[in-house]
Amino acid sequence: MSYGKIRANFIEHNTSGSVPTEYVVEGTVKAKVAADTAASIYSNSSLNISSGVDEGTGDYKYNLTNNLARNLAQEYCSGTVLGYADVVRIKTAESSTSVMDIECMNAAFDVADAAHAMGCWGDLA
């Protein structure tokens, strides 16, 4: 494996200023996934995911390979529902440091099947 490291506390651009690298690390997505209505994950769409679980209509769960340090429900997560005028939300009841538990809903906020994509940020365990 060839995997070099650059150690720096700041990254500076010629004209746009500088940013501490801790913000770059914290601002990097730690887990992401895109999947169909059955939580079947598209090839090459995921990072740090071990499996998707279809738990019923519009009800999905994704298991992480590298846990986050804190519960995902306490971290920043973002998602989109693909090709529909729907929304996706993080469910808190079953979220943990290794589980992203989500629900897709239609414009009337009824649970509905939909292809979807999610990402989450935070410190890794």
Partner: protein
């Protein structure tokens, strides 16, 4: 440096860049609560590639240790994440071994430890083609009581 010398997340990033994803047809169907629809678990293609390559994923007991830490009432954040990074990674697995590992990692323990106890099976491994072809009645899906668990 060897692949196993890097932290788990770095190993996963390396795998995503260097390994061909493996789309398996296996699905794990399980029932946590008889009042809820069955769950259908699909392995992630990049994770399958990691499992079959070897030298990337930690042993499954590491996840059980972290889950035990998280179950404590005073849990705030993980302090034993080093287990994920420093424990000797698993050797290459076959597709079937990877599914067995994934069951122990991602299916609730109360399900896979007792899958064939009780009146009917709580879990089944099947192929994608064996699932219903449409989702019209998705919330009514159940594991067949006629399933042979012998």
């Amino acid at each position: 440096m060897k692949l196993s010398d890097y932290k788990l997340f770095d190993r996963l990033c390396w795998a995503k860049e260097n390994l061909e994803p493996v789309q398996t047809d296996y699905r794990v169907v399980y029932e946590r609560d008889p009042d809820r629809p069955v769950s259908v678990m699909t392995p992630d293609p990049n994770w399958m590639a990691c499992a079959m390559h070897g030298g990337i994923l930690p042993p499954v007991w590491v996840y059980h240790e972290l889950a035990a830490d998280e179950a404590k009432p005073d849990f705030k954040k993980h302090t034993r994440g080093h287990l994920l990074h420093e424990t000797k990674p698993m050797d290459p697995m076959t597709e079937e071994e990877a599914i067995e590992y994934l069951i122990m990692k991602d299916v609730p323990q109360e399900v896979w430890k007792n899958w064939n106890k009780g009146n009917r099976p709580k879990m089944a491994i099947c192929k994608k083609e064996q699932l219903p072809s449409h989702r019209t009645w998705r919330n009514a899906w159940r594991i067949s009581e006629e399933l042979n668990v012998a």
